[in-house]
Symmetry: C2
């Protein structure tokens, strides 16, 4: 019962990021990850902690902007219904949209397909002082592409290394990279899809393609597992977020973002003017 045992341990709030990070160069089994894991944290505590983290994130983003030397890239991946949009709405609204861009990578256009698979994501990389969020990303090129054989195996197999190298370049150029995998169970996905079908205000989100992908649940989970194992690096770690419960998901994501921003040595730059001597009229 490895999941149960893990759930019994209650890490302190500051330990949550470390507990959810996929360790580089180690085996990772998605089936061992519990989508309802909560470390013994209850809903009320999580809601309070998330609100506190949102306030802190707002301050940290302002310091990131004022400092102007670093940037942050947040990659979000999940199976359909995993809560990517909802996480962005509930956590990333803590950030000022001036200084936080969100790019949703949908099916590639014909122009995009004329380029290498990293071209469109590189264009959306964050400027210094700002945060870029990828709602889906270059990882689709080892997920949907792999599951559906959209390119030959020899092509997608090379991409894991190419992604790691690409992310290393960004990291060396002062971009802090955080990758979030929102992990839900198959039953949770069923409930969320059914809800989209039954709720008049939600069924515009439903797509017949979702049902086809649901039949590929196992193939997707295998592709996720390999992605998490091969591409969680010291310079660009993957975090696996237990995402069945939205209140725990939001808490964990906000705690990780806070932790990652706090690793940067941010400071307010000083003007080089002798400002004390200037009195305006």
């Amino acid at each position: 019962m490895p999941n149960k045992k893990r759930n019994d341990k209650k890490p302190s709030r500051r330990d949550v990021p470390d507990a959810l990070r996929v360790k580089p160069d180690s085996k990772f089994k998605l089936r061992d990850a519990d989508a309802t894991r909560d470390f013994g944290w209850d809903k009320d505590k999580c809601v309070v902690a998330t609100a506190d983290n949102r306030n802190k994130l707002e301050q940290l983003q302002f310091q990131l902007y004022a400092d102007g030397r670093f940037s942050m890239l947040v990659v979000i991946q999940a199976i359909d219904g995993g809560g990517k949009d909802s996480t962005i709405r509930r956590v990333f609204t803590a950030f000022n949209p001036q200084g936080c861009t969100v790019t949703a990578f949908k099916a590639p256009s014909s122009e995009v397909l004329q380029h290498d698979f990293l071209w469109r994501v590189h264009k959306a990389a964050p400027a210094r002082g700002s945060i870029a969020v990828f709602n889906r990303s270059h990882y689709e090129d080892v997920l949907i592409v792999r599951v559906n054989d959209l390119v030959p195996r020899a092509v997608w197999e090379r991409r894991y290394d190419q992604i790691n190298e690409f992310e290393r370049i960004l990291a060396e150029c002062d971009t802090r990279i955080v990758k979030l995998f929102l992990h839900i169970s198959k039953e949770e996905q069923r409930e969320r899809f059914q809800d989209r079908l039954d709720d008049r205000k939600k069924n515009w989100k439903f797509d017949l393609g979702d049902l086809e992908k649901r039949t590929q649940w196992d193939a997707y989970n295998e592709a996720f597992e390999i992605m998490l194992e091969k591409c969680s690096t010291a310079h660009a770690p993957w975090y696996v977020i237990p995402a069945n419960r939205k209140w725990f998901r939001d808490f964990a994501v906000s705690q990780i973002l806070r932790y990652e921003l706090e690793q940067l040595p941010l400071k307010f730059p000083q003007t080089r003017l002798d400002v004390g001597s200037i009195k305006l009229v």
Copy 2:
């Protein structure tokens, strides 16, 4: 005492947008606009109304996104110290950054200068379902460019008509355009600049160029006045926001955004599936 008289009238909350809109094809004198005008609204009432508007804006943006037919472009202009960044931080954080892009147009790069003056702004125009905010904009090409003679008069003189035509095209293609001019007094600018100089956490924002522009106060205000008069159109109106008091400015901006979004016939699209018949397993 036209300002005093205007201040005595207390328009209802819903009348505020109309009261601040620059009427198309009419004379407009910036010197007649009072930067402290508050219509008799006090700070407490404004703060409560702004919070209420922010909640409503969040909902309206979600409907805009779900509807997917329209977009909104918000142009913000002001003299230095006028509060562009602060307005974005205090009002536009109501929007989900997924679906709201903010582009700050700074001094043009050499690549930008190789193109017509509308090229870089067109690239940043909003996609259907989303909101684009311009922090400065194509109007700089009839402001700083005009004040400093950066191109020949014959070139910048044509731009007022070119801007009106460009905006008409966007409006006809389902983009709702709202233009906000944040109006502060010269004394208010002095206080804000002095504050930037005196506060250690703010003086990274100070730039010696600001002092030079302060000596051009009258020339800038003339350029603003002509811009407001020539380019406030039915399809893309300018609003002049009394911006000395931040609480009134935030209230007015949030009220205008709310009004403008409410003019769109937004609805949740219905899926074409016979959704009632689908039960997932």
